[in-house]
Amino acid sequence: MSDANHPGALTRLLRFSLRGLVRDLRAADVRALFIALALAVAASTMIGFFLDRLDKGLTRQAGQLLGGDLVLEQGDPFEQEVRDTLENAGLVLSDQVDMVSMVSHGDAFQVASLKVVDSVYPHFGANHVDRGDGVELLDHGPPPGEAWLAPRLALLIEVEVGDRIRVGETELGVGGLIEREADQSAGFGSFNPRLMMHVDDLSATNLVQPGSRVEFEILAAGPAEAVAGVQPLLERLRRDGVEVRDVRQDRPGLGNALERAEKYLSLAGLAAVLLAGVAVAMATRRYVDRHLDTAALMRCFGATQAELTRLFALQLMWLALAASVVGALLGLAGQAALLGLLTTFLPLELPPPGVLPLWLGILTALSVLVGFAGPTLLRLKRVSALKVLRRELDPLPASAWVVVAAAALVFGGLLWLYSGDPLLSAGLLVGGLAMLVVLWWVGNLLLGLLFRLASRLPRRGGQDGGLVQALRLGGQQLARRRQASLGQLLAFSVTFFAVAMIFLVRGDLLTTWQDQLPEDTPNYFAINIQPGERDAFSTVLEGAVDARSALYPMVRGRITALNGEPPREMVPPEARGDNALRRELNLTWQERLPEGNRLVAGEWFDALGSDALDNDEFEGWMTAVDAQPIADASPAPVPMSMEDGLAERFGMELGDTLTFTIGSAEVVGELASLRNLDWDSFRPNFYVIFPPGVLERFGHSYITAFHLNDAENDTLRQLVRDFPGVSLLNIDAILGQVRDVLTQVTRAVELVLAFVLLAGVSVLYAALTASRPVRAHESGLLRVFGAGNRLLSRVQGAEFAILGLASGLMGALLAELAAAGIYLAWFDLAPRFHWGLWLALPLGGALLIGVIGHLLSRDLRRQAPAASLGLLGET
């Protein structure tokens, strides 16, 4: 060891350090270090593995919804070259053709939405089809000669499985009723009931004619690298106006709920890591105290400072590695449990977790060790060899500020690593340090106050004294060991703070989620309500449903110009294939800003003043529409409001114009305001809204959403009977899926909370272990002076309870401040005040620390004074 270059030196050092560690495993502080590090790794790997797999799973699920990892769509058949490029990149292709056509059976006719699939379909998942023997899960589409119908279509044209129906110029047998399609790509954007058939039958229908409205799709499935490999092709296709949906880029999110849950899990993981760090810091103090004699002896035998540093660093590295392995295994088990809680919403076969979270976990353990234990460990290297002759020659403890600064630096780095947001990390860190300074100051004040209070308590009672005597002695002991008590006070405060915060945020997240999807969230959409039916429909709903949205008029229009030019030339290249440019948009008119919409730029129509709507120019434009279905010159623009996301995709700003072709007329809208929509609201939402007086003259129908309980089926029947032309869409399944996600994510959040609690307990354990020798010494002395078992027990209980009470108060203060900050900065929620916290934390803290501390000190009370007093000097 004195010759580091000696070939065997490193091996010997490694062996020596490992042997030292194995011997040390008997020590409580090493156990505390091990537990804390393992918990840090477990928390970070569990959440890392989980988020990794969740992300992969959601991508897979999104691929299932979309029908492939990559979907291309255009109005003409795709060229062979596109196909070849995709296949050569390693993608499996499936062709699909979508169109709307009349389907008939006998005298019954119905417009249906045709989905023509090949034999590869579906890439993912299965169709839920009833072929006459109940619903089956089939991983294929209908075979040639067969058609599968949505139950509603079967009802409308009155067919059953086995009947034959006419599609275009051919006949197909009804092979089954589709309860659920493997891919939901069309969603309810297509209001006509579904008919699924095989591509081999398409030519016989003779439905694909020049000028007919047909969408050709290529659904491609394959690994991310394959999709990445065809990006140049995709860019070109987008510029050519092909709609390209890449599941990794355009993943239809499950809304804010999951995003918040992911953030919450990361936050909780970090809280667990922070607590583990505090536990590591506390346990290290005792570890170092215990090893001072070893270090001095080694110095005496000729070890240099560098060798001592290497020796103890290696020893702890072994510990960190062992803790990493155990922690990673725990993390793997934890993530499996988390995923187990989410099974009904995630696809059954999840991709296995990657190794990155494992490395992150090990990195976390080592960082926590270096940051939270480093400065304290350096004390070992500074030990003087002379200590072997003069025991009192201990090196000075590391400055508290150095310890805090090192820990803060490392924790800040971890924050950055996990959140990916340097500004937020810096903000949290600076805030955290500021709070620590405040805590330090408040803690000092509290201890001073405590000493004065305890000293004023009356002296009475004998050997087994009463509660007052116990409080007086306990309080005095605590206040006398000012620095040690302050350290514990801070550690416990931070623990209570972290646990409370994770608990608070959890509660508020859940409340927010519940508020987001209340019981009466609309579960039915009614579309195609004719103007003449509007009032009658409204009357039926009146009083029969719990909640309903307004009835929105709907006019279908196609965007034909942006600022007077062809839109595909004006929008950014990546938006050329946008759905909004390729299909008719649903336009509406509203006098007021609809419920759930938020104005983010510009002014709503009423603020523009009546002049904007009633001026001559506007009147003139109206006349132009009446007189001239297709104007030679563009009509004068009218104000319109647009969804901010679409405007951003199109690169539009306030004042830009969009021309819509509605039927055979044109309407020019000038962008007057941008709206932010809540797409999770399950209410009708519109990209473009005009003021009243613009669209009324065009053919329009109404749409509404309402909530209907199962028990109110009479209302449903009445609606179907009285309004046969109105389509009713039940979205209970989608709503149920979202609710499931929320319930399961809630459970996942609770599991993570348990982890944070465990990390909190590890802090308690480490802190109590660290302070054990001093407490043993004090109780030994009290015993020598004649204190009875009961008094000792009470004094210790009182001391811990006071510590818990003070820590709880300080923790509540911190949690309240931090939660407010986090709501504003991270979750975009309004802060709330938590009265319960100020009661629960101090009382709970006093009880928890009082009981645990009391129990852990039980054997100290049983020890003979000689043994207790001897404990202090022991290494």
Binding site: D293, F301, G302, L389, T875
Partner: protein, 238 residues
């Protein structure tokens, strides 16, 4: 060892005008002043003195565990003043052994592991065999796996003796090696110490107030008023 042969050898330890002062509050305390000492290889030297005379301070300085306030000090011919603390530690490694009054065994290490401890600092291929051998020599061959708390005071000090000699140290410092032992046990430890010293041909510098122990050394010195004085053997016996 005769005086004439001594002068021909290079001293293993040489101190000249050694000064040690410490601050105690506002006051400067002089513990050692103008102290001189020369020890030759193979010698055994006892330093006697009253409690508080500065015996342990002197031992710390001689072993390079502490730095003097003035004067020169050479260990193995190397001026310690030119070395920093790490340099002094490297000089000791494998060449200096220690026996302490309070044994200084690590309580979590077995007897064998305690003896192995100094061997971890020097490249040794047969470390464990050597440690076993030395423990056997001090009569603890059957108690290798015992922890210090399972051993008596005398046994603990024998482990410490084995630890002091196991590296093949050229120089062993002993600080009141019998100070914590009853007279009979102390006797046995003294016998063992000198036996091992004889076998290994080690130089021995011991600090004690035990005259019986001092008498077994080649030379006896008295530490008084911060200086060392050579004592006649009959003076020690007195």
């Amino acid at each position: 060892m005769s005086t004439t042969s001594r002068t021909e050898l290079t001293p293993i330890l040489h101190a000249d005008q050694l000064l040690k002062q410490v601050r105690s509050g506002e006051r400067q305390l002089t513990i050692l002043s103008g102290l001189g000492l020369t020890v030759f290889p193979g010698e055994s030297v006892a330093i006697l003195g009253q409690s508080g005379a500065g015996k342990s301070t002197l031992l710390g300085l001689l072993a390079g565990l502490d730095a003097p306030s003035g004067g020169t000090l050479e260990l193995f011919g190397q001026p310690l003043g030119e070395l920093d603390e790490d340099g002094r530690a490297r000089l000791r490694a494998g060449r200096v052994g220690f026996v302490f009054q309070n044994f200084q065994l690590l309580p979590t290490l077995t007897a064998l592991e305690n003896v192995l401890l100094p061997l971890e600092l020097t490249p040794q291929t047969d470390a464990e065999a050597r440690a076993r051998d030395w423990l056997t020599r001090v009569g603890l061959g059957e108690r290798l796996d015992h922890l210090p708390k399972q051993l008596s005071g005398g046994e603990q000090q024998r482990v410490a003796l084995a630890r002091a000699f196991v590296t093949g140290a050229e120089l062993v410092f002993a600080d009141e090696p019998t100070g914590n032992l009853d007279p009979a046990t102390g006797e046995r430890i003294i016998a063992a110490l000198f036996e091992l010293n004889q076998e290994a041909g080690t130089t021995l510098v011991l600090v004690t107030h035990d005259h019986a122990l001092a008498r077994r050394c080649d030379r006896c010195l008295r530490l008084e008023g911060g200086r060392l004085e050579e004592m006649a053997m009959d003076e020690v016996s007195a």
